[in-house]
Amino acid sequence: MALLELQGITAGYDKNMILRDFHLSVSRGDFVSLLGSSGCGKTTTLRLIAGFNAPVSGSILFDGRDITNVPLHRRNFGFVFQSYALFPHMTVFDNVAFGLKMRKTDRRETEKRVMEMLELVDLKGFERRYPREMSGGQRQRVALARAMVIRPELMLFDEPLSNLDAKLRVKMRVEIRRIQQELGFTAIYVTHDQEECFAISDQVAIMNGGVIEQMDTPAHIYTRPRTEFIARFVGFENFLNLQRRGGVLLLENGQPLSVPEAPGTGDTFKACIRPEDIQIAPEGESLENPLQGEVMVTTFLGRNVQYNVSTPLGEIVCSSAQEHVYSIGSRVTLGLSGNKIILIEARPNS
């Protein structure tokens, strides 16, 4: 059974509803990321779970209990803010001890648990410092310790690393994952950074326009996106229209496309393929699913060279690590590897 369940949630401000009939289900012990661009509703969802905002309708179930109307301070969820939100007038120790004080934990126990937590986040010896005397990374670790020391039943992260520089971000996300696995808590993590969320999550829910487009393991999302939006999100750059006629998949120019397995139903599809899964060769060479074209733009990307090739099906982006560089205007053949092509059934409205 799911630990946390959001059922038919509608939420937003005034007439501008960000979530409509929204559903989400999180299993115990999972690290779930909500991924999406700004305005997609991911932060709204997290704030509803925390209790900072209330939904207009729908219910939030936690461990079988309806917590929709349970006030924020009775939920026992840890929250880590993008801005850290440390109390500036309190020392590191008092910041971390705040939640325990609210729970009237006795002094000895408080001291023991705060010190344990500070050790866990590698901040031993910083107890008497004030937040303003610490770096961004250290502050975020204090925030982490402060949220975890209350032994929350659920940890919520709101873009916790986006105020840190790139190097520190990578280090901290490994740290967060390590601590999560060590303590075994359930976590919901909001981010707009795809690499970050793929690196630390058990499950990723990609949100778009207030709905979850796909919720799956990072590997599945990366290799088997279910919608064009997700496919674009995870690096598919080429989308070709397909029609099924008499059991054969035809491209727009009438050329058949061979793929290992075609879906059972539907007649119109989009074939999605990443730039690096397209082979490029001089014109006339025989390749799988060949397409003739002319190089329009050549971009040097360091490890690869990216080509924008104009074909009868429109512009196709491919990248190649080959030493031979095709110059602008070269006639080339592109080979679309059948087993790298993802077929997505075209929806009428997309």
Binding site: L72, H73, F79, H89, F98, M102, R146, I150
Partner: protein, 277 residues
């Protein structure tokens, strides 16, 4: 830094410093210095006479008492108002305009308005009598009560503005963080918002206290001869009794009291929030 830049700051502050020195500091200190001399010799005798007079003692304690009371009332009234405007108000600009609106009229006009409101036939007394709470109109005017009312109304905007400035700079997520850690709204306010607002409270309190100590029109119009305060006493010594030395001595006492009380406010604030400026 270039040689030129070294001197630039001097040129920038020179006009202001000169003006204040020539037209304020020199006259002030020459007057105040006079209070420490008796028959051309250094002495505290002016102050000894002053503090030995029971009348001065009464005026002195009334001045401090009313100023402290008004400061406290302004804090109690201003805190919730500022918190509401800063956190929950949808029409912040309008609310702020309303809060500072009294500043647009002169203290004279405001004092006269209080006379109308608090007089024997004023609306307050009309209500007290018609509602049956009192059989006869009460004397609400020309006493410490009306003076305090006047002070509070006069200086409440300063308190609200000082608090607003600080409260607006407290991030909202601090109270959310406190809430997620188990603090109810009230506890979050007491543990987070209040300590972080203390610097604004101190600024406001110093402004209100100094204002009450030095206000002249309000105690003159809303008080009576038996409710004199230090500022009206200075006027009386200087203009009615033509005793400039005694007037200056009283003025000196006012300056010292204001400075001492401001110092105490600052000390108190540091105890609540060690980081408050």
């Amino acid at each position: 830094m270039t040689h030129k830049a070294k001197w630039a700051w001097l040129i920038l502050i020179l006009p202001g410093t000169l003006f204040i020195t020539v037209f304020m500091l020199i006259p002030l200190f020459s007057i105040l210095a006079g209070t420490f001399f008796e028959a051309e010799r250094f002495s505290f005798s002016n102050y000894v006479t002053l503090f030995q007079s029971t009348y001065f003692q009464q005026v002195f304690s009334r001045s401090v008492r009313l100023s402290l009371l008004s400061t406290l009332l302004c804090a109690l009234l201003g805190f919730p108002a500022a918190y509401y405007i800063s956190r929950y108000s949808r029409h912040k600009g309008l609310m702020m305009a309303l809060a500072v609106f009294p500043l647009f009229t002169s203290p004279v006009i405001r004092s006269f308005s209080w006379m109308v409101i608090l007089g024997r036939k004023g609306i307050v007394n009309q209500f007290l009598v018609s509602s049956g709470l009192f059989a006869r109109p009460q004397s609400l005017l020309y006493n410490e009560f009306s003076m305090t009312v006047g002070f509070v109304q006069l200086f409440l905007p300063q308190m609200i503005l000082s608090l607003l400035g600080v409260m607006d700079s407290i991030p909202k997520d601090l109270t959310e963080a406190a809430g997620s850690l188990g603090a109810s709204r009230l506890v979050a306010f007491l543990r987070i918002v209040f300590p972080l607002s203390v610097s604004g409270l101190v600024t406001g309190a110093v402004l209100v206290f100094t204002g009450c100590m030095t206000a002249y029109t309000t105690p003159q119009l809303l008080g009576a001869t038996d409710t004199q305060v230090l500022s009206t006493m200075v006027y009386q010594y200087a203009m009615s009794l033509r005793d400039w030395v005694q007037a200056s001595a009283v003025a000196m006492v006012m300056i010292v009291v204001t400075m001492v009380v401001s110092g105490i406010f600052n000390r108190l604030s540091r105890r609540i929030n060690p980081l408050a400026a």
